[in-house]
């Protein structure tokens, strides 16, 4: 009875709090404006539903964390006299009191958060191309909710420690915003709010949402490769493929044939101008489950070659075991935030930028890391590991306007490993410079190992000069453990050896459960700690 009485009293007190009232008003106004602007922008530049919801959840976590911190950090310190005289001198325990504080605040904050997320989810689902499922939305909302709870528990714990509310709030702000680099340094990136913010779009995105991976053109046909099997009625409707040439000229295919084995669509009956670029946009195409193609990767630019053949060759997209992003030559793809559509042929992501791959879900589509996608702008698309390296004539004619410039003597930067991305059977290594293909395709130059020191030899290595990536295949990796790749004896085209200080990268797959545990367990620990501290504190 004492517990429920305290809980109700806390709710009553919170309902009269001006901080909470002000927050509700500000939240409602902000939600209205942000959602309106996002949805309006969506008409001009389509953003997937996962992007809209991720923006909302990240905004809630980053902007309103200040209010949540104040609500938590002021809970005890602001009323220590009242607690002693009015409450704890009666027949209740300190555990009951602190639990009521925590639960009442969690109830209010999570209630507001869930309501706000429900509205944002509905708007994203209703007005944007849906690339989420109920499960992915639930997972994303759960993880952010746990982060909110952790913030609240930390605030209350600091409130127990400090009698002064300002100290508690400042301490909490420092802890929350300084945590990311510390966690990153300690190798537990998934404990940090920044990591969650970065990876939220991937958590929200349906891993089954098909992506438009690759296009190859002749003067009479276009072959478009997708990451997943498509729904044939939507894939074979020529109206779902918008072809735009230079100066706004549009082209219409007479036929669209879906090749289920290659998960590709061949558009026929075209008269495309040789040597010109065509922008291909795929609309209203879904997979068999009705999930729309992700607007994050629904268009690309292809160049019509001078030499023509009946059907442009394109590599098969074999789905789940593709290293993420490997086939996405010049497709528009998630940017660094993972959800906003990059313009076709966007500038490759800076190799110096942090490109953590820890958020990858390890499956094609939703798993495609930002850097890998935006940075793959070569002319050679995905090649299965068993293939021989394609000659230039055989390669699909996918050309990006931002294709790397020809080598010049001025380029003498020391090459380094930028990142690696792994699946269970393959691993992609991204380099900062254009590497010597002979060195890069020597499998002995790569040491792939797990934390226990167990090595995994690769069978084949294929270098993609345009993307500056090497695809190592024939591996048997367990993605439960981080995978480290170390590169040695590899030089760039100018003969510069790989940097000895940046010759390795680690792929650590972060899944939802890691975030759940990463935020959930600290929440429980901090709450327990707050109870213990409060039980020992003099009032």
């Amino acid at each position: 009875m004492a517990s429920s009485a305290l809980f109700k009293a806390e709710l009553l007190t919170l309902s009269r709090s001006w901080v909470l009232r002000g927050w509700l008003i500000a939240l409602a106004l902000t939600e209205f404006f942000v959602l309106s602007i996002t949805l309006l922008q969506n008409r001009v530049r389509p953003t997937p539903a996962s992007g809209i919801l991720a923006t909302h959840l990240n905004g809630f976590l980053l902007i309103w964390s200040l209010v949540i911190i104040v609500l938590g950090a002021s809970s005890i310190s602001m009323e220590s006299d009242v607690i002693s005289d009015g409450i704890l001198s009666r027949a209740c325990t300190r555990t009951q009191y602190i639990a009521a504080k925590l639960l009442s605040r969690a109830f209010v904050v999570l209630g507001i958060y869930l309501l706000s997320s429900a509205i944002a989810s509905y708007c994203a689902w209703r007005f944007a191309a849906n690339d989420m499922t109920l499960a992915t939305v639930s997972a994303g909302v759960l993880v952010v909710g746990l982060a909110v709870l952790l913030m609240l528990a930390l605030g209350i714990a600091l409130s127990v420690l400090f009698n002064n509310t300002i100290f508690a709030v400042v301490g909490m702000l420092l802890l929350w915003y300084v945590a990311s680099p510390i966690f990153s340094f300690l190798g537990v990136d998934y404990l940090s709010p920044a990591s969650l913010t970065r990876n939220l779009p991937r958590i929200l995105k349906d891993p089954d949402a098909p992506l438009f991976l690759q296009g190859a053109a002749t003067t009479t046909s276009l072959t478009l490769a997708f990451s997943k099997n498509l729904d044939p009625p939507t894939a074979e409707d020529p109206a779902n493929f918008l072809l735009e040439g230079e100066a706004g000229v549009t082209y219409t295919a007479r036929t669209a044939v879906y090749d289920k084995a290659r998960t590709s669509v061949i558009l026929g009956g075209l008269e495309l101008p040789p040597g010109k670029t065509i922008k291909v946009t795929v609309r209203n195409v879904t997979n068999a489950g009705g999930v729309a193609i992700s607007p994050a990767a629904d268009s690309m630019t292809v160049t019509v070659p001078h030499a023509t053949s009946d059907v442009a060759p394109v590599a098969p997209s074999t789905g789940a075991d593709l290293p993420s992003g490997e086939s996405l030559t010049s497709a528009t793809a998630p940017t660094s935030s993972g959800y906003s559509a990059a313009p076709t042929g966007a500038t490759p992501r800076s190799v110096g930028s942090p490109a953590p791959v820890s958020g990858s879900r390890g499956t094609v589509g939703a798993a495609v890391p930002a850097a890998g996608l935006a940075g793959s702008q070569g002319s050679s698309g995905y090649r299965p590991p068993s293939d021989t390296p394609p000659s230039s004539a055989a390669a699909p004619r996918t050309v990006s306007p931002a294709q790397p410039a020809p080598d010049t003597p001025a380029i003498r930067a020391v090459p380094r490993v930028v990142l690696c991305i792994a699946t269970v059977s393959s691993l992609r290594v991204d380099f900062s410079e254009d590497m010597d293909p002979k060195d890069a395709e020597t499998v002995e130059n790569y040491i792939i190992e797990n934390p226990a020191g167990q090595t995994h030899p690769a069978i084949a290595a294929v270098y993609n000069a345009a993307a500056r990536t090497v695809l190592l295949s024939g591996l048997h990796l367990s993605l439960d453990d981080p995978t480290k790749v170390t590169v040695r004896n590899v030089k760039d085209r100018h003969g510069n050896p790989i940097s000895s200080r940046a010759n390795s990268a680690v792929y650590s797959e972060v899944t939802v459960w890691k975030y759940v545990l990463g935020f959930g367990i600290p929440t429980l620990l901090v709450s327990a700690l707050a109870m213990v501290w409060f039980s020992r504190r003099d009032l």
Binding site: M1, A2, S4, A5, L6, A9, L12, T13, R16, E79, D81, V82, S84, D85, G86, I87, L88, S89, R90, A91, C92, T93, R94, T95, Q96, S535, R536, D538, L539
Partner: protein, 343 residues
């Protein structure tokens, strides 16, 4: 049977302050125990330790035969606590706050609603029953605190300076209430207003610099001063009063007297009965036509004893480390240290 017992109770706040030093105290059931001490003596700290609001650095508190701790809600279930200058949830009203207190004590709605209504009425807060507590004056908050401490009809009341901040009427009502409650409950009340303690308590403890320097009955406390004195307020001309004082010297039972204006403080040699010498003094006044306006037999006695004990403790110097107290000024028995209030 003792309701409360402390053993070597010591409280240090970090390395900054020694609030209590080895306090051994016993409060018997049914007694009204007064805790005396100057400001900063450690009275409030002692009371918070008794309630488990603070944890002792050394020693322990036993309440109703069980060890008190911060989570010992079942023991506080039987205690009514009134803090000094209490602070209650500012946005609550007396009704909502007393309702919460009733719920914390596990009272059903049927029990607590009539109870809180009668208590609000009793402490004269009916007109303010729906006003937020933050708008209350000190006196009103104290009265609400009194009501809250009685909400669970406790068997043991701990009131910390209950008359602080009250107007004369409120003070009188509070002391009357204490006297009334003392008939059925065990009460521990702290104050530095000695006359309040003198009026309602049957036993008393004196704290000085965190040390319990006296614990015993009020009578024993008065005996430590070792004299029977009265204060007489007179009316008459200066020459008449001087003459009256000269005649007083002839009365053998009067050992010393001191006149301050119209007031005369007289100490009698007899320690037990002062009626006979006082009668002779009054006869002398009547004979000399000195008007007697008032006679106070107790005024100053407790205060004197209190101050005397504090001074004696101070004067004892370093030997206080061994717990001994200096002999009293009149060579009478030493005050009981750490004993039961019923000597």
């Amino acid at each position: 049977m003792s309701i409360l017992q402390t053993s070597n109770l010591t409280k240090l706040f970090g390395n900054r302050l020694i609030a209590l030093n080895g306090v051994n105290l016993t409060v018997e059931e049914g007694s009204v125990f007064g805790l005396l001490g100057p400001n900063g003596a450690g009275k409030t700290t002692l009371m918070k330790l008794l309630l488990g609001l603070q944890t002792p650095t050394a020693g322990h508190v036993e309440m109703f035969g069980q060890r008190m701790s911060p989570n010992a809600a079942h023991l506080r279930q039987r205690i009514g606590y009134l803090p000094t200058n209490p602070k209650f949830p500012p946005t609550m009203t007396p009704i909502t706050y007393l309702d919460l207190v009733g719920q914390l004590f596990g009272m059903s709605s049927e029990e607590r609603k009539p109870r809180l209504a009668s208590l609000i009425r009793a402490v004269d807060l009916l007109p303010a029953a729906s006003r937020p507590i933050k708008s209350f004056s000190t006196g009103m908050t104290t009265r609400l605190g009194i009501a809250a401490s009685l909400m669970n009809d406790p068997s043991f009341l701990i009131w910390d300076e209950p008359t602080a901040g009250l107007d004369p009427a409120g003070r009188k009502y509070t002391l009357d209430l204490l006297s009334e409650l003392g008939k059925t409950k065990t009460i521990m009340v702290s104050s530095h207003i000695l006359s309040d303690i003198d009026r309602v308590c049957d036993s008393v403890g004196i704290l000085h610099d965190g040390k319990l320097i006296f614990c015993g009955s009020v009578r024993t406390l008065k005996e430590t001063i070792g004299r029977n004195s009265v204060e007489i307020e007179m009316d008459g001309s200066e020459s008449l009063l001087d003459a009256f004082c000269l005649r007083l010297e002839s009365l053998p039972e009067i050992v010393v007297f001191e006149r301050k204006g119209a007031y005369l403080e007289v100490n009698f040699a007899v320690s037990e009965r002062i009626a006979a010498p006082l009668g002779r003094l009054l006869l002398l006044a009547a004979e000399m036509e000195v008007e007697i306006l008032s006679i106070s037999s107790t005024r100053g006695q407790t205060e004197d004893a209190f101050i005397h004990l504090l001074e004696a403790d101070q004067a004892h110097g370093f030997s206080r480390a061994y717990g001994a107290l200096p002999p009293t000024a009149h060579g009478l028995e030493r005050p009981v240290q750490g004993g039961t209030p019923h000597s």
